[in-house]
């Protein structure tokens, strides 16, 4: 392993080294001729780059006038961007509403099934009770005589559970995806504010 600190020389030259790292490199430069030569070489390179002159560009006012002639009437994305922003914040609200609806419907279905098992729904039409179980495929298969008895019960229970499970999971996945994107955007904004400060 090399004792030289050449990988930190650029940061030192650019004034980006702080604290201990800065002091260590400064001390090292006093003792290491090779690193001093490397630093001098980097300084010379920087000077050489600054010897390249910039040409005489169009004056700012005239340049702005030239740009003005080529502009469209209005910034085209302004309205679209506002709509996108509102839509962006509606995503978690919409997901929350969906999640509440799923929970409430599941809760109501459970109540109907419980009430039915206690014989409290004797006057209620059969379609309402069957619909509340959420076992549409089990009922359909049973109508064609393909399911009966224990098989029907298991299929009905599994089908209801699987549907609820899939709905909760997919809602959670979309919500988590939104949180990841929101967090990334927030981090980027924070970096911008640091820069402003």
């Amino acid at each position: 392993m090399s004792d030289h600190m050449t990988e930190w020389l650029n940061a030192y030259l650019d004034g980006e080294l702080k604290g201990d790292q800065f002091q260590r490199l400064r001390q090292h430069l006093l003792e290491c001729e090779q690193c001093r030569a490397e630093l001098a070489s980097l300084e010379n390179l920087s000077k050489a780059m600054h010897m390249v002159p910039t040409p005489q560009f169009t004056p700012p006012e005239r340049f702005a006038a030239q740009v003005g002639l080529r502009l469209a009437h209005k910034p085209t994305r302004a309205t679209k961007s506002r709509v996108m922003e509102i839509g962006w914040w509606m995503i978690p609200v919409g997901l929350l509403v969906i999640w509440v609806l799923i929970g409430v419907s599941s809760w109501v279905a459970d109540l109907v099934i419980a009430a039915n098992s206690f014989g409290l729904l004797s006057g209620v039409p059969a379609w309402f009770i069957q619909g509340s179980t959420g076992a549409y495929w089990a009922n359909t298969l049973a109508q064609f005589g393909l399911l009966s008895g224990t098989g029907f019960k298991w299929t009905a229970v599994t089908e209801g559970f699987a549907r609820q499970f899939a709905l909760h999971i997919s809602t959670a996945v979309v919500y988590l995806g939104w949180i990841v994107v929101w967090w990334t955007r927030r981090k980027r904004d924070a970096q911008g504010q640091l820069l402003e400060g």
Binding site: S41, T58, E61, V67, R70, A78, S81, R82, R188, Q193
Partner: protein, 190 residues
């Protein structure tokens, strides 16, 4: 024209379609945008065209700009992308060209000193033979004086990547130019 109006107010007005406010912003940032594009491509005419294109793109996407962010960084990012697109279209980058230039005598006599034009061409060609990603970082650091944090923010890359690209760019230029010893001797005399 709105003299001395704060930049944020000008941006908000421009976002509502105020062309005079945008014109003021163009005046404020045209020099910086022209400079970095010129440093990227080394051609004044391409720089003028690409800078105009930069501000036209900025105008059409101004609605998506968040006023709490830095307008300069946002414009510079558009400028660098525009310059890269335009150079690809123009195909005026000649990588490796600096290799074709003759090596200079390590102990040149008075007749062998570089004249300004040769020096300029040599350095400019070496910069242009850098990969786009390293060239962008180098230009922002050397010519615009951006800090590593500002470069990271403008290009949306981590600070570690800024450092590695800068190390690569300077190492590459040293390797290309150190053979032309007189160049560094010229710099030492400045």
């Amino acid at each position: 024209m709105i003299p001395d109006a704060p930049e944020k107010e000008l941006v908000i007005k421009a976002q509502k379609g105020d062309r005079n406010a945008f014109s003021e912003l163009v005046c404020m940032h045209s020099r910086g945008v022209l400079n970095i594009i010129f440093r990227m491509c080394g051609d004044a005419q391409i720089a003028e065209d690409a800078a105009q294109e930069t501000f036209i793109r900025a105008w059409s996407h101004l609605g998506s700009f968040r006023t709490e962010a830095s307008l300069r960084n946002w414009l510079y990012r558009i400028a660098l992308n525009t310059a890269t697109d335009m150079l690809r279209k123009e195909k005026r980058i000649l990588p490796g060209l600096v290799d074709d230039l003759p090596l200079v005598d390590p102990n040149p006599g008075p007749e062998c000193h570089f004249i300004d034009g040769e020096h300029t061409a040599l350095v400019q060609q070496a910069i242009q033979s850098l990969p786009d990603a390293s060239r962008e970082v180098l230009v922002l650091r050397e010519y615009e004086g951006f800090s590593y944090r500002e470069i990271a923010d403008a290009l949306e890359i981590p600070i570690g990547t800024v450092m590695s690209r800068l190390n690569y760019a300077r190492g590459f230029l040293k390797e290309k130019l150190e053979g032309k010893v007189a160049l560094f001797k010229e710099a030492e005399r400045v």
